[in-house]
Symmetry: C2
Subunit: 239 residues, 2 copies
DNA sequence: GGAATGCTTCGGGCGTCGCCGAAGCATTCT
DNA sequence: AGAATGCTTCGGCGACGCCCGAAGCATTCC
């Protein structure tokens, strides 16, 4: 029974610029060291240490000691979803300024990134569009559904679908998936267990690789081919 | 393209105890005056005025002047969803303390409340359970689906389903709905357009009425009968 | 063993922000 | 018109917390 006080505490933890940067950097689900987080937040290590102590005692990040390093990662997926939803509001409220491309780093993020466990950015929405066009998924703002051909398709390209099959609804055996509104594209992409399965497999197979230090991902030539020939992805062209 | 700075700003706005209380009070979607919000936040009117000014200039709340009153409400549904997701994290992180029923007000909230546009609390999950048991909806943690019998059922009890029908997926014509994890019950209930339609109709028909000043709702005798006889709701007994 | 690295705690400076009392408009009631 | 209500702005006080420099452990490298 969370009280408003606990609500405010969590929001306040996320509300500091330095901590927000750190949490952001952890959004891809990986574990980073304190020094790396200090760098992305633009503060000294001792300041970062204090922030990380607060985040971990609050339970937002999980710490794991390994030698002289301390690896931090988001404690639960719910925290990533919370941050997504805050980004959501930020995108809504942001002034409709034109494409002020701030830098190459932001451009890469808009191009393709991970959203904790699934793809977002132009790549994410293009994948979702392709899946919809091929009749593999159906998507509304409320929810999504993986069709039977869609399930077969995922199996055919090598994705282990046992995890998805296990999550089917009791009655009709449908596999459902979660839509996620993309803050950079302002369109929906695939999240939930389906989006996570695609992302995981794509990274394992080397279709995409993580960019060092950021949430951005790069599509490899192999991935470009797979996405075009198998997913029938049209719109996306890596720039 | 929201930056981390805007992210932090929004989180910080929600991170102050007084503002969090106010936002909480607005979670049912209604518009409240500045004085009412000052009272629920436990601050003086002039302090509340400052907070509300910040919230409105940031775009989180929308203000409407009416005579000498200024009515405040959440600017968009996305803000309510954001707060839900923060509550979500708070519930996860909250120590698993026993049922420390703080007071009658909290008890009423746990019993039945609105979650911006749909029902939550024991009533919310009981309704969802009944709909699932009757085969009207299927629900996973990722998403939900309204079955054809379910759509007919909603029409039969008088709900205007044109809004739902309009939101069907292009291909198979399914009506999808959004699950929402209940922080008090730790179970899923119905949200999205389906949950909103049920909640709206229930309030219009007098099956439930809003409790003054809080997000709690009361089930009327008429509502108790309807929920039992038509929805086949089992578990819920108003206490 | 000595040096370097990663991280933490301590102490103090400083800015920000939340809070309220007092006062000032605007609207409404009688 | 005068009083009451709703809300805001102004001024000032107090505290919380963000930040860094300095110093202290722990681990690892040479």
């Amino acid at each position: 029974m969370p009280s408003e006080a606990q609500f405010a505490e969590i929001a306040a933890l996320a509300g500091d610029p330095a901590r927000a940067s750190m949490l952001h950097a952890l959004m891809d689900g990986r574990a980073l060291t304190a020094t790396e987080l200090a760098r992305v937040a633009g503060v000294t290590p001792q300041t970062a240490s204090g922030h990380l102590a607060r985040l971990s005692t609050a339970g937002l990040v999980h710490v794991e000691q390994q030698g002289r390093h301390r690896y931090h990662r988001l404690a639960t997926p719910a925290i990533a979803r919370m941050m997504e939803s805050i980004m959501q509001v930020a995108a809504e409220l942001a002034p409709p300024r034109k494409h002020f491309t701030v830098g190459p780093r932001d451009a890469a993020l808009r191009e393709a990134r991970t959203c904790y466990d699934h793809f977002a950015g132009r790549l994410g929405v293009a994948l979702a569009d392709a899946m919809i066009a091929e009749g593999h998924v159906e998507l509304t703002s409320d929810a999504g559904i993986l069709t039977d051909p869609g399930l077969n398709f995922l199996g055919a390209i090598g994705i282990d679908t046992t995890g998805l099959v296990a999550r089917r609804t009791k009655r009709s055996g449908r596999v459902l998936c979660r839509p996620c509104l993309d803050w950079s594209e302002r369109r929906h992409h695939l999240a939930g267990s389906v989006g996570a399965a695609i992302c995981r497999h794509s990274l394992e197979q080397g279709w995409t690789i993580r960019s060092a230090g950021t949430r951005a991902v790069l599509v490899t030539p192999k991935g470009t081919r797979i996405f075009r020939e198998h997913f029938k992805m049209q719109i996306y062209q890596p720039s």
